[in-house]
């Protein structure tokens, strides 16, 4: 089995409203030196070991479903699993 860990975040130019609100909460808790918080989504996808063209399909899944390329970007890691 292959495990693909996908991280989806907003593009840097897009307002991260949640990140901003969480940042001010962290600041009011007393951690004042934290200057940025960004919130994203995390996905785990399982693939068979002999899956052909895995990266191509992961890209397609990310582009067409998991993200909106207008506002979000993604990166992923492919790991071997038992």
């Amino acid at each position: 089995m292959k495990l693909v860990k996908i991280y989806v975040t907003l593009k840097p130019s897009v307002l991260d409203a949640q990140g901003e609100a969480i940042k001010s909460a962290i600041n009011t808790m007393g951690y004042e030196k934290i200057s940025g918080v960004h919130m994203g989504k995390y996905f785990e996808l399982n693939f068979d070991n002999d899956y052909p063209e895995l990266e191509k399909d992961v890209d397609a899944i990310c582009d067409n479903l998991l993200t909106n390329p207008n506002i979000e970007t993604y990166r992923y890691e492919i790991m071997e699993e038992e």
């Binding site: 409203a17 949640q18 609100a21 969480i22 909460a25 808790m29 919130m39």
Partner: protein, 224 residues
């Protein structure tokens, strides 16, 4: 009796609650800012619905760090009346004053409709004007109102008669169709439905009025 309606940034049912107290049961009520550090002079605290801090991170998660919250905890621990409605319920569970948590509705969508609730425990500060098993019509409006707790907690809730309201059908996927629970001492109630939206017949129901009258009844008894 004098109520405080605590207003967090993003609360949006604060005025509805205010009017329910002022016009519905004609008692004293004041809006209290989240930066206040004292609730002295109040007899009960009401935490309104809405989207405190935009519901960012998790519903209610950021509000629990506001200054006024220490006073809400003090009220709860001193056995005074604390009522959290909708987002207020979410804040109370995030605070740990009530067991369980509220998560995304089963079908993942926001639901606004008037539902039928069953009064499970009619012997509390919040329900003494209702009858046991009475069916009441109260609106809901939430996207994260599915009550969740583990089996052990559920057993405790049942054993201590902490389940106050249940939906008459599976509305949002809540465990045991729970719509409202209290703490063990039964002075803190959290509920997802909005009784403050059901205090006038012209709005579709006045079944929520008895909840607020129950609090007054209870307070009169305590004071005597």
């Amino acid at each position: 009796m004098k109520f405080a309606v605590v207003n967090f940034p993003g609360s949006n049912c604060d005025m509805d609650l205010y009017y329910a107290i002022r016009d519905g049961i004609k008692e004293e009520v004041e809006l209290v800012d989240y930066r206040e550090t004292s609730l002295d002079g109040f007899d009960g605290v009401l935490i309104p619905g809405g989207f405190s801090y935009g519901d960012y991170l998790r519903s209610g998660a950021i509000a629990v760090h506001a200054p006024v919250v220490k006073e809400i905890v003090r009220f709860a621990n001193e056995g005074k009346i604390v009522l959290g409605i909708c987002n207020g319920f979410q804040i109370l569970t995030e605070l740990g004053l009530l067991p369980g948590a509220l998560i995304r509705n089963e079908k993942s969508r926001f639901i606004c409709e008037t539902v039928t609730l069953k009064v499970i425990n009619d012997k509390t500060a919040f329900t003494n004007c209702y009858q046991e098993n009475e069916e009441i019509r109260i609106p809901i409006a939430h996207g994260e109102g599915r009550y969740y707790c583990d089996d052990k907690t559920l057993a405790e809730l049942k054993a201590n008669d902490q389940i106050i309201f249940k939906y008459d059908r599976n509305v949002n996927g809540s465990v045991d169709q729970i719509a409202g629970v209290t703490n063990k001492q039964k002075n803190v109630l959290g509920m997802m439905p909005h009784p403050e939206r059901a205090i006038e017949d012209i709005l579709g129901s006045d079944d929520g009025l008895k909840l607020f009258q129950s609090i007054i009844n209870y307070q009169v008894r305590v004071n005597n």
